[in-house]
C-alpha cells in the first residue's frame, strides 16, 4: 500500500514536471551564446527611447511664458499645476520650452532671459556634466515599476544623461553667444526650492534657433 502511494505521488510529480518543466537541458555552447545575446545594453535602449519618445515629450512641455511667471508669483500653484513627481519623493520636475536671449555664460550654465510673455524671468540652461534623474523622470516617459531591476533603471538614467551631454550640450555651447536668441526645451529637477528655483536650472533636451 505504501509503495502504491509513493508510485502515485511520483507519477503526479512527473506529470506536473512534464506540464510545467523546472529546467531545460541545453548544450553548453548554445547556453553561452544565448547569455551573450541577452545582455542588457542601457546605451542602446536609451538611444531607441530617445528617438521614439523625445518629440512627444517636447510637444507636451509647458511654455515658459506660462510656467515662469507663475513660478515667480505663486510657486505652490505652479507646482500643483505643472510639476511631476515620482512616488512619495519630495523632489519634483518641470518640463518646459520657450525662447530667450543669452544674458550670461558661465562654466556650468548658459543664463537665458525668457522673451516670451511679460516675464522678466531667467533660466539657467545647464552645460556641465549632467547628473540626477531629471531627464529620465521629468518627462514622465518611463515608469519605475516597469523596471523591477533598480540597477537597470539607474543605468538608463546615466545613458540618457550621456545622450544629453553628447547630443544637446555641444550645439548649445556653440550657439551661446551673449545677446543671441535661442529656443530651448528641457527638464528641471527641484529638490531644494530655495536653491533650485532662482533661477530654474534646466537640463536642455533640445536647442534651436527661433
Amino acid at each position: 500500500m505504501r509503495a502504491v502511494r509513493w508510485f502515485i505521488a511520483l507519477a503526479i510529480l512527473a506529470g506536473l514536471g512534464w506540464r510545467w518543466p523546472l529546467f531545460h537541458v541545453v548544450t553548453l555552447k548554445s547556453a553561452t551564446a544565448a547569455k551573450a545575446a541577452a545582455t542588457y545594453n542601457p546605451g542602446q535602449f536609451a538611444e531607441t527611447f530617445w528617438a521614439s519618445h523625445l518629440p512627444a515629450t517636447l510637444a507636451q512641455a509647458v511654455p515658459s511664458a506660462t510656467l515662469l511667471p507663475l513660478l515667480q508669483s505663486d510657486p505652490a500653484a505652479a507646482k500643483k499645476q505643472f510639476s511631476r513627481s515620482v512616488g512619495v519623493s519630495d523632489s519634483y520636475f518641470y518640463c518646459l520650452s520657450g525662447r530667450g536671449r543669452v544674458v550670461a555664460i558661465t562654466d556650468e550654465a548658459v543664463i537665458v532671459a525668457v522673451i516670451d510673455g511679460n516675464s522678466n524671468a531667467v533660466v539657467a540652461l545647464q552645460t556641465g556634466l549632467v547628473f540626477g534623474d531629471a531627464v529620465r523622470d521629468g518627462p514622465g516617459w518611463l515608469n519605475a515599476s516597469d523596471y523591477p531591476n533598480s540597477q537597470d533603471f539607474n543605468d538608463l538614467s546615466a545613458a540618457l544623461n550621456h545622450l544629453v551631454e553628447t547630443r544637446v550640450l555641444p550645439p548649445l555651447r556653440a550657439q551661446a553667444k551673449l545677446g543671441a536668441t535661442i529656443a530651448f526645451a528641457g527638464c528641471a529637477a527641484v529638490e531644494d526650492e530655495a536653491a533650485d528655483l532662482k533661477p530654474l536650472k534646466v537640463i536642455p533636451l533640445q536647442i534651436g534657433t527661433p
Binding site: 518543466p21 529546467f23 531545460h24 541545453v26 547556453a31 545582455t39 512619495v88 531591476n149 533598480s150 537597470d152
Partner: protein, 323 residues
C-alpha cells in the same frame, strides 16, 4: 474593569496602536493616505509578513530563529543563480537551464532544507535555538557570498519578476502571495492537529510529551516551515529587485521578531496568533513609512523602532505577571 474586558483590551492592543498611528500620520502627512502610499506599505510588509508567519510558529513553540534573514538571502541567490546561469554539467557538456518555476522551487527547497537543519540541531543535538540558528545565520551568509562572489545577480527576466513586481486584478502579487500564506497558516495554526500541537509544545513541552505529542517532530516541522517561508520571502525580494543581492535580508530577523512580539505572541511560547503577527507587521510597516514621510533621520527611526519593541515586550511581561 472586569477580567473579560481586560482580556479583550489586551487582544485589541495592537489594533488600537495601529489605529492611533494611522490617525496621527493622516493628520501629519498628506501623502500617508494616498493609494500609492498604502500600496507601498503593503508591498513593503509583504516580505516581513512571510518571515514573520514562520517566526510566529517558531516562537509559539518557545523557540527563536535568528537565521531567517540569512536564509532569505541564500534562497534568493540560489533561485537567481540557477535562473540566470543554470547548472552547468561540464562533464556532459550540457547546462540545466532552470525555468522561473524551477528557480523558485529550488529556492524554497533550499529554505526548507536549511530550516530542517536548524530543527535537527535543536532537537537531535539539543543545541539552544539561539545558538543553532546563530550558527545557521553565519553558514547561510557565507554560502550566499560564495555563490554570488559578493556581487548581485541581476536581469532575471519578467516572468520571475512578476511575483515580486507584478499585479493581478490591480493588487501587487507580493501582497497576494503573503495574504494567501496568512490564510493558509491561520488555518494550520487554528484548525489542524499540527497547529494545536504547536501551541501545546510552546505552552508546556513536558506535558505535551507525556500526552503523546512527538515534540521533536513538531519542532522539526516548525523550523523547516520557517526556512521555507524565509525562502518565499527571499524570492519576493529577489523578484521585486530583479536581482539577488548578497546582502539581502540583513537584519530582517529583528524586524520579524519585532512584528511577532508586537503582535502579542509571547516569547516564552504557547500564546499568540498569526493575525496578531499581521497587525505587528502592519505596525512596523506603518511606523517605518510614517517616519520616512515625516523626514525623520534614519538613525532616529532605529531608536523609535527599538523603543516600540521594548514597550511591546514590557506590556506582554506586565500582562503575564498580573495573570
Amino acid at each position: 474593569m472586569n477580567a473579560h474586558t481586560k482580556d479583550l483590551f489586551k487582544k485589541l492592543q495592537p489594533l488600537i496602536a495601529l489605529a492611533v498611528m494611522a490617525l496621527a500620520l493622516t493628520l501629519l502627512s498628506d501623502k500617508f493616505l494616498t493609494v500609492a502610499n498604502q500600496r507601498n506599505i503593503l508591498l513593503q510588509i509583504s516580505v516581513n509578513l512571510c518571515l514573520s508567519i514562520g517566526m510566529t510558529l517558531i516562537i509559539l513553540t518557545g523557540g527563536i530563529d535568528l537565521s531567517v534573514g540569512a536564509m532569505l538571502g541564500l534562497a534568493g541567490a540560489v533561485a537567481a543563480g540557477l535562473l540566470k546561469n543554470g547548472l552547468a554539467l561540464k562533464v556532459c557538456g550540457v547546462v540545466l537551464q532552470f525555468t522561473p518555476l524551477g528557480g523558485m522551487v529550488a529556492g524554497i527547497l533550499v529554505g526548507l532544507a536549511l530550516g530542517w537543519f536548524n530543527g535537527m540541531a535543536i532537537t537531535r543535538f539539543k543545541l539552544p535555538p539561539f545558538v543553532a540558528t546563530l550558527g545557521m545565520l553565519s553558514i547561510a551568509r557565507g554560502l550566499t557570498m560564495l555563490l554570488t562572489g559578493g556581487f548581485p545577480i541581476t536581469d532575471l527576466g519578467p516572468a520571475f519578476g512578476f511575483i515580486g513586481a507584478g499585479f493581478w486584478l490591480g493588487v501587487p502579487m507580493a501582497v497576494l502571495i503573503s495574504a494567501a500564506l496568512v490564510l493558509i497558516f491561520y488555518i494550520v495554526s487554528r484548525h489542524t492537529t499540527l497547529g494545536r500541537y504547536i501551541y501545546a509544545v510552546g505552552g508546556n513541552e513536558k506535558a505535551s510529551a507525556f500526552s503523546g505529542v512527538n515534540v521533536n517532530r513538531i519542532k522539526l516541522w516548525v523550523y523547516a516551515l520557517g526556512g521555507g517561508l524565509a525562502a518565499v520571502a527571499g524570492l519576493l525580494v529577489t523578484a521585486r529587485l530583479d536581482a539577488a543581492d548578497p546582502k539581502a535580508g540583513l537584519g530582517y530577523e529583528l524586524d520579524s521578531i519585532a512584528a511577532v512580539v508586537i503582535g502579542g505572541t509571547s516569547l516564552s511560547g504557547g500564546r499568540g496568533s498569526i493575525l496578531g503577527t499581521v497587525l505587528g507587521c502592519l505596525i512596523i510597516g506603518v511606523l517605518n513609512n510614517g517616519l520616512f514621510l515625516l523626514d525623520v533621520s534614519p538613525f532616529w527611526q532605529q531608536v523609535v523602532k527599538g523603543l516600540v519593541i521594548l514597550a511591546a515586550v514590557a506590556a506582554d511581561k506586565l500582562g503575564t505577571r498580573r495573570e
